[in-house]
Amino acid sequence: MDEWLIKRARSGDQEAFSMLVLRHQMFVVNICYQFLRVREDAEDTTQEVFIKLYRNSSQYQAQGKFRSYLAKIATNECLNRLRREKKMKTVRLEEYTHANVPPTKEENISPKLQEALDQLPTRQRLAFLMKIHGKACYESIASELECPVSAVGSLIFRARQTLQRKLKSSSEEQEASQ
């Protein structure tokens, strides 16, 4: 279905393209939000992802899962955006956390998964998200985060370990309150 839609969109069928966007926009915006943590940035980047998808649609091979392909584009676009922000604000990537951005009203209602993710150190969070969404190999994560490959496994492990603890304690608290 997605392959057919992308082929139609490529030949100028706008309805096919809008259907493709409607089918996958929540999937993409979710990934972007996990990376960027600002609603407006996540939605802007989602648009950029779909524009990139359209422009590079000829490169898409229908062998793999379409969503994996889309997730890789989304991951790259988010990293590009973080890099641009870093350049503009002249802060190092590891210092760029959502804490640098004034919190919006909506961000107070983030679910427990988001809260747990927010509490991770930035490098752990980025490594974890690049792995689970972008399916990036350790070498490319290492080059993105400018750290040795051997450190990537450790970053992702620490992220999983912390998330596991936090989610476990939050579900225990929930059970106790009931």
Binding site: F50, Q114, I132, F157, R160, Q164
Partner: protein, 249 residues
């Protein structure tokens, strides 16, 4: 070996960075240790949870804007064979002229496609920002266009557009500075030579952006000519204020 070290290996296993057959100890440990087995299952669950974690806001309303952008991009792509043909004809003409010794080849500068592509990307992005009324985000792009461009038409449009953004922010002196810098570059009267109509027809995919800038350019034409004269700055600021109140911007 401690459970934590085994768990670290389990995380690698989950990422396909480790082959369990190469680590018989790990396999053996998993069979005996319920804590590590549980941890492995928890890690898998966590990955899945985050992959399906739902966006906490309503679905963004982006389809309309995206379809417009894609339509613009599609029409631009359809123009590519024509542009390529014109480019080849031009190169052929230049080569012929050189062959007949009518021009010294040192004076010829052929615009390479790589010179143009970044501008096209930036203009696309500007169109998007303009549609979304995100003036602040357009600003750095406009500055880049002005800084890195020697094409007087693009420079004119970008300068007027940036001046427009400054006027909206009520930074009138900044607007004057941009216009003044532009007038220096174009040696004051260049503006009359800028063929906006042909520019608009060549860049028909960016017409919304260009038409606005064009209107502004015409309204401010007289200001640009005098922007260098510091004595007139106050008068120009007043005039810009009046222009902005008159909803010209």
């Amino acid at each position: 070996m401690s459970c934590e070290l085994y768990q670290q290996q389990l995380s690698l296993l989950l990422d396909n960075e480790l082959n369990i057959q190469d680590f018989p100890d790990l396999n053996k440990h998993l069979e005996q240790c319920s804590l590590c087995t549980k941890m492995y299952n928890d890690f898998q669950d966590i990955d899945e949870e985050y992959q399906k974690c739902s966006y906490p806001f309503p679905a963004p309303d982006i389809t309309g804007q995206l379809v417009k952008c894609v339509a613009v991009s599609h029409s631009k792509r359809n123009m590519l064979p024509l542009i390529a043909a014109i480019f080849l004809a031009f190169v052929f003409g230049v080569l012929l002229t050189i062959a007949y010794g009518k021009v010294n080849s040192d004076t010829i500068y052929v615009v390479q496609p790589s010179d143009l592509e970044p501008n096209i990307d930036i203009i696309d992005q500007l169109v998007l920002y303009q549609q979304q009324k995100k003036w602040q985000k357009a600003k750095p792009l406009l500055k880049t266009l002005i800084r890195e461009n020697e094409d007087s038409q693009i420079l004119a449009i970008a300068s007027f557009y940036l001046a427009q953004v400054y006027v909206q922010e009520k930074k009138f002196s900044h607007a004057i500075k941009v216009l003044s810098d532009f007038s220096k570059f174009t040696e004051l009267n260049m503006i009359d030579q800028v063929d906006y109509n042909s520019f608009v027809s060549e860049h028909s995919d960016s017409t919304i952006f260009i038409k606005d800038a064009l209107t502004l350019a015409k309204k401010l034409q007289s200001l640009v000519k005098y922007a260098e004269d510091k004595k007139l700055i106050k008068e120009q600021i007043k005039l810009l204020e009046l222009l902005s109140k008159g909803k010209i911007f």
